[in-house]
Symmetry: none
Subunit: 125 residues, 4 copies
């Protein structure tokens, strides 16, 4: 399980953690019962404040995605989170918008970006 923070996006860290954990669980990359990194460990890995991790884990627990066992750690729950399709669409939209916005700062058009992506797709296939 590898989490990554985007420091430039303006999206709060704890939200990024929540979203990524949820997706990983929904996709099965994190299996029910599997242990997550400890709060301290993850905080160190991501170079953020432990409280931020605590907050993310707490919200995920409230949603039933995670379960904490006092003294032993935090684990993936047995109930799969449902990912809201609408929410998901908005997320993708936001990413695309940011991609285009950043690209345009350097004078790239939508077609330039499209070309770059197609090229990448071909390279990977």
């Amino acid at each position: 399980m590898k989490l990554q923070l985007d420091t430039k996006s303006g999206v709060p860290y704890y939200r990024q953690i929540i979203e990524q954990v949820k997706v990983a669980v929904a996709h099965g990359r994190l299996a029910p019962g599997e242990q997550l990194p400890t709060v301290r460990r993850l905080a160190v890995d991501l170079s953020i404040n432990p409280n931020t991790v605590v907050r993310a884990y707490r919200e995920l627990e409230i949603e039933g995605v995670l379960e904490t066992q006092q003294g032993s750690g935090t684990f993936v729950g047995h109930q799969r989170p449902e990912i809201d399709d609408l929410e998901r669409h908005r997320l993708l939209d936001q990413i695309v918008t940011e991609l285009l916005a950043r690209a345009s700062s350097y004078g790239f058009t939508l077609d330039d970006v499209l070309g770059g992506l197609v090229q990448r797709k071909e390279a990977s296939s």
Copy 2:
């Protein structure tokens, strides 16, 4: 030029303005030299405070996307930074890599992003 704010996304208004202007420039919907809505006008249109518009325009000016002419208005800038093609492509590549990484950590594939882009392209034509 039509701007719209998403009041529920949690993304700050000024950031939404910035990104939409950049995207419009990337699309060619805003041509170099073209005048943008005045600060007060846009503020009224979007039902927000003029200072919020000022802030967005200001950041866009710092980045070189817009140019302001005291007393007459705000305009799309002419100067696209002249960097050589190789450097340009390295930059685009870097941006794409970064955003794909972010997309993938949310569970999106290259195809998802590609699809989102194509949709934008169609919407604008």
Copy 3:
């Protein structure tokens, strides 16, 4: 770190803050990683509105001179700003111009001012 505002020069406060911080960082008087005064603190010290400080810090962050960590403070970035020699020269020129302008309002000539400065130099050595 001691900042000073010149209230008579007509140069905006936020610009003066930006310039002085940049110089201090470039000179090493502010070391990378060092914390700056908090927004509220500096506002009180300079007797200005916190938003004015926010604005200065914000621009410095965009330029990469400062880094802010939500909830903990504002710090000097790890990338040194290069002070454009031209920029620096312009700044000195501006100061000299103002010195002469103010002096001339009272009928002093360039030589009068020069004399005053030389005297001061001797007194200090």
Copy 4:
């Protein structure tokens, strides 16, 4: 008499004009009775709005630096302010102190300022 505007400094044009005229008078480059460029002429030369020149001239007239003669033009005034020598020197001292403080907060030393002044003197001779 050659005026130049610094468009990047953030200092208002009319203020730059005022200061440069004052400096020129202090240098003796503009002698009492000498005619200044007409409003329109200077506006064209500096590529600014005539109203901006009008404003600068008006303030200089209020201060007694210039005198306008309706229909014939604007001229350097004859009146030197009369204050006693002691008071005069206290004033000069105060101005110098103030500007040195400002210079030092931008990282300039007394010698830097002195150098700048000497350069002016040479340029004008």
